[in-house]
């Protein structure tokens, strides 16, 4: 799955996802990616977020929506990602997933669980070229 957030210089936030889902799924199964607030979410007055991992679990907690709401309440992107993932980890400690969060000023952060580490890609005026940022899970 790819989950992407794009913010232009006018602070317009767009979010999106695309995936072929889990391998050997039951026919008809749809994961979290096309569910707004689960796979990704955008609010130009706050920022955006995108999630990846076990969609059958993640979609039950709307983590992307939760992350944006946490940023609206004042959390940093990294804190927001962590808070959005916390209830999932509490109820499903064996699950694997990650979430990236971005605020409207272009600051970003991520949190992951179940992977050894998680990499996400960033293009920003802060870097000369596209950069992969890794977080330990």
């Amino acid at each position: 799955t790819i989950g992407m957030v794009v913010i232009d210089t006018s602070m317009r936030v767009w979010a999106g996802t695309s995936t072929n889902g889990m391998n050997h799924k039951v026919p008809g199964r749809v994961g979290d990616s096309p569910v707004m607030g689960a796979g990704s979410y955008a609010d130009s007055s706050v920022g955006g977020a995108a999630a990846t991992g076990d969609g059958d679990i993640m979609m039950r907690f709307l983590p992307s929506f939760r992350a944006v709401i946490e940023m609206e309440y004042g959390a940093s992107p990294t804190e927001a990602a962590q808070k959005a993932m916390a209830p999932i980890i509490k109820h499903y400690p064996q699950f694997s997933g990650a979430l990236v969060a971005v605020n409207r000023t272009g600051h970003y952060g991520a949190y992951c669980h179940g992977f050894s580490k998680f990499g996400y890609s960033v293009a920003s005026p802060a870097f000369e070229k596209v950069t992969v940022v890794y977080v330990d899970c």
């Binding site: 799955t1 790819i2 992407m4 794009v6 232009d8 602070m11 317009r12 936030v13 767009w14 979010a15 999106g16 996802t17 695309s18 995936t19 072929n20 889902g21 889990m22 391998n23 050997h24 799924k25 039951v26 026919p27 008809g28 199964r29 749809v30 994961g31 979290d32 990616s33 096309p34 569910v35 707004m36 796979g39 979410y41 955008a42 609010d43 990846t52 991992g53 076990d54 059958d56 499903y92 064996q94 694997s96 997933g97 990236v100 971005v102 000023t105 272009g106 600051h107 970003y108 179940g114 996400y120 890609s121 960033v122 293009a123 920003s124 005026p125 802060a126 070229k129 596209v130 992969v132």
Partner: protein, 183 residues
């Protein structure tokens, strides 16, 4: 302090990030840039987890899910269980642009896509056929069924339901979700 514009995406799919970033730099809208970025992954079949030709379902068919959301207006277009159309993020945007709905799924979503000008074609490749073949050969493991017979942990279907004799026990199994098998 602001660091804009910005493109961020899950996983080290740097070509997708670069494509979206280049589009933004050339004056494209954030919407177009996002579609270009995600479409790049669909074309490149990023890690086999995006686009056609991988992760087939129990019947061996690859299906796609996608979504796009505008943070200004909260307009959303999404597509689930899309069959025989490769550009899922494009179809999601078409749902947003050409309907009042939010999410279309299955065969009807494919029909809508074709009506909106998307090409209908098989999403199967030699790789996805081989994945399916190996899964069948491995007694259909891993398997997402539960409370059915024959035992889905050791057998392929068809399955029929077997309610438990005592209480229902809903326990999500761990299905080896990793970089190559995830949503």
């Amino acid at each position: 302090e602001t660091f804009l514009p910005l493109v961020v995406n899950t996983w080290p799919f740097t070509n997708a990030t670069q494509a979206a970033w280049a589009a933004l730099q050339s004056g494209a809208s954030a919407e177009d840039s996002l579609v270009i970025g995600c479409s790049t992954c669909e074309t490149e079949q990023c890690d086999g987890s995006v686009g056609y030709g991988s992760n087939p379902d129990e019947r061996g068919e690859t299906t796609l899910d996608a979504m796009i959301m505008d943070g200004d207006t909260f307009a959303v277009g999404a597509v689930g269980d899309l069959r025989r159309v490769k550009n899922a993020i494009g179809v999601a945007r078409a749902v947003m642009r050409y309907s009042d709905h939010t999410l279309l799924v299955g065969e009807s979503a494919g029909r809508f896509a074709v009506e909106m000008g998307f090409k209908e074609e098989s999403l199967a490749t030699n790789h996805s056929r081989e994945m399916y073949k190996q899964w069948r050969k491995n007694n259909c493991q891993p398997n997402y069924r539960q409370h059915v017979t024959p035992d889905p942990r050791h057998n392929c279907g068809p399955y029929t339901p077997v309610p438990p004799k005592s209480l229902w026990h809903y326990q999500r199994k761990h299905h080896d979700v990793d970089r190559w098998n995830h949503d």
